[in-house]
Each structure stands twice: as C-alpha cells, then as structure tokens.
Symmetry: D2
Subunit: 139 residues, 4 copies
C-alpha cells in the first residue's frame, strides 16, 4: 500500500484537530508503514528528578502510531486506540525523545503495529510499545 498523506498534510491535520498536543510533535521521516516522530519535551512531560514521565511516553507512542496509521488510511480523526502494551526498558536521558513506529497489519477494522522510543543521542531504546487502533467504518 502507498501513503495517503504527506508529512505536511499530517502536520496540518494535527494542528487542526489536536491543537493542544500539536506543538510537541513533529514528523521527521515518513514512508509506507513507517514513521519517525520527534517529541519536544517540556516541563509538563517530566516527573520529579527531571525524567520524562510514563504517561508522556505513552502519549508519544500513541501519537506516533496514530500518525503512522493516518498516513496509510487518510485523515480519519475517529480512529481510536483499543490496546497499548508498553515495556519501559531504561531511564530516559534528559532532552527530546523520538519514536519509530511501524504498521504490521492494516485491516479493514484494525491497525496493529509497534513503536520504539528513544532519547535523542542514545542508541538503545527507552521503551517499546505495541498498539492496536480501531478504524471507524466508512459511512
């Protein structure tokens, strides 16, 4: 399958539909079934001690997989997460994070894939997640 949205179209979609999270995320690479998303870390993403919080990493994994799916199916704001299984592997380093997501199965009803999360400049992953999105039927 081929891409149905470009990086620029994903950016405009997010700014339109999710303005409150949009400023934190930037798609840096996009190809069929794979995407790289950078997350600009600010104070609201940190927990005491200054490391990125678990919910913020969940948000990054979820957002990256959402964008990977949208890029393949087109702009459907109503796709919703039905499952996320996340393993926290290492303490994040200070600074921004990025996510590399891949779509493993794109069916009529479900999109299933996984994501690796990294701290910028560190080669070993900070977390891994697998996600399932439910895709709303075409009306």
């Amino acid at each position: 399958m081929s891409l149905k949205m470009s990086i620029e179209e994903l950016r405009e979609f997010m700014a339109d539909v999710f303005p409150q999270v949009d400023d934190a995320f930037e798609v840096t690479e996009l190809a069929p079934n794979v995407i790289t998303v950078r997350m600009k870390i600010s104070d609201r993403h940190l927990r005491p001690g200054g490391t990125v919080s678990g919910p913020s990493m969940f948000l990054l994994a979820d957002c990256a997989y959402y964008l990977a799916t949208l890029a393949m199916i087109g702009p459907k704001a109503l796709a919703v997460t039905t499952n996320c299984s996340i393993d926290f592997l290492r303490k994040p380093a200070p600074g921004d994070m990025f996510a590399k997501a891949r779509v493993l199965k794109l069916g009529k009803m479900l999109s299933v894939g996984d994501v690796l999360l990294f701290s910028e400049g560190v080669s070993e992953p900070v977390a891994r997640a697998s996600l399932t999105y439910s895709i709303p039927p075409v009306k």
Copy 2:
C-alpha cells in the same frame, strides 16, 4: 500479607514525593492487595470533545497500581513500572474517574496485578490494565 501503610500514610507520601500529581488522586478504599483510587478530572486530563484522554487513563491506572503496591511493601519511591498493557473498552463519561486495583503477585522483585477504570456513576468499566512494577532491592 498485611498492609504496611494506611490511607493517610499514602496521602502524606504522595504529597511529599509527587506533589505535582497528588492533588488529582484520592484513595477511597484500602485493604490488603486491593485499593480504590479516585481521580479528579480537570481540563488538563481532557482531549478535544471533552472526554478523558488515553494518557490520563494510563496515569490513573499506573498511579492506582503504584499505591496498591506501596501499601503492601511500604514507602519505596523507587518502584518503577516495567510493563503496562491497557485495553480501552468504552468512551469515558464526563466527570471524575476511579480505579479499582488488585495485587495478584507480590514477589521480591516484581509486583504484578490489574486495574479496572470506571467513570463515576457508570457500572461498566471504561478500561482495564495489567501492570508490572519492579521493586528495588533492599540495601
């Protein structure tokens, strides 16, 4: 096993160690291996349309299971989530949420259990999660 912390001791611990999230959570019931935690929903927990966001539900599940574990092992701030698998079942209703967590296995190194999340006043669960916490060894 018996409880090592009371509701009041958990409250003081959270206010001390996690002041930035403490105001949202309240332990309403506590017994060995089971806990009920209420989450006061405010604007920062919502996504467009006004429903509670996925990362906020992840935060509630994670926090409830952390408190369930602490109540059994005593105040160890360094217990960390190693895995969370969460299924989103229904759209949350407007208003506060609560979590019912149970500890299924409390070993020397790992605490494993699960959590059901509810919208206040609705009997069917909004989400379910299973979590594993790594418990730091006693020095």
Copy 3:
C-alpha cells in the same frame, strides 16, 4: 445481555468443532459474562519437571475466553483471537487447572476480557491473561 448458549450446548459445540481439544476441557460454571473452565492435565501439557507448560496455560486461557464469548454471542466458530497478554505469576501445582474468565466488553466487532488461571486446590492465581477476540460480521 443474557446467555445464548448453555453449558450443554457449549459442550456439544466443542465436541463437534474442536474434537481434538474437547476432551481436556469442561465448563463447570456459567453465567452472563462469566465462566469457569476446568482443564484436565495430561502428559502432553507438561514440561520437564512435571509442571504445566506455558503454551498449555495459554491454551486454557484462550479456550476459556472463547467459550465465555460464545456463550454470549452464540455458536460462531470463526471468532478469532487477535491479542493475548499473559502474566505468569507462580509455578503451577501438580494436577488439574481451572480458569475463571469474564467478558468486560462485548461490542459488534470485538470481545475483550480477562482470565485468571488456578491450580486446583490453591487459592492464589498461577497466571492472568487479557484477551481480545474479533467477532466475524453477520452475513
């Protein structure tokens, strides 16, 4: 929702559709959204040392949740597992096992719930699992 199949109807369905596993399983309790399934453990379910193997526990969890779903939707052999997340908590005791499954969400497309696995005569669970089944659309 109410039950669409009885214990006897589930037994006949399994004998008909899955004769090769049927002799190991017996539904011992059934009510809307909850089921108890006993698994008769034989040599083929054991690993070296005589404990029940991981794949056998996966089979029990999967089968119990399948039967819990069928009891609610009627005999649809084509319901298929899309996800199973299983935590192994304790070494099983020698002897038979049983599973207590509950359906948490029964939608048009997906059935989502969880299962606790026990060794007979032991009160603490041996494993927990959450499962998602995809339900084939009515033609």
Copy 4:
C-alpha cells in the same frame, strides 16, 4: 555485549534440557541480540482446517526469545517467562514457520524483547509478540 553461546551450543543445550520440543526447532541465524528460529510444523501444531494453532505460535515465540536470551547470558535453564503479549495478525500459510527475535533490554533480572513470526515464503508477519523473561540470580 557479545554472544556467550553458539548455534551448536544452543542446539546441544536444547537436546539435553528440552528433548521433547527440541526436534521441532532449529536456530538458523544468530548474532548479538538477534536470532532466527525455524519451527518444523507437524500435525500436533495444527488446528482444524490445517492452520497452525495459537498455542503453537505462542510456543514458537516463547522458544525463540528464550534462545535469544540464553545466547547472551549462557546456559541457564531456569530463566522463566513472566509476560508475553502476542498479536495475531494474519492466518498462517501452510508449512513451516520461523521467528525473528531481538533482545531490547538485558538487565540483571529481566530480559525484554520482541519477536515477529512468519510463514515460510510469505513476507508479511503472521504474528508479533513481546516477551519478558526473569533471569535467576547467580548463586
């Protein structure tokens, strides 16, 4: 980290410790943190209709990740699975299957990673799994 066991040493270990499953599995590729394992499918791995059963795919994922971990830590038969989350993506094709596993985090207590399962000759994965193994402490 470097490999502590070769393909031949893994083969001898399995023949010694797990003779009952050994004949089905063959390590075909091995490098630090990554392994490819082929599973010879026979009648006992099939369900009605002739496709590979869910428990057999669980067995392959579990065995592949166990071997990936052993290759990095040396022959420790007591490493045990604590969690497996598996997504079934497509119906397997007839014939043998293989698994590609990678170790994402090798700590003192836990090994965490993931596995893709394939039917021979088909490029799209049949299933994905993430696994956590608990590593017994050195005495």
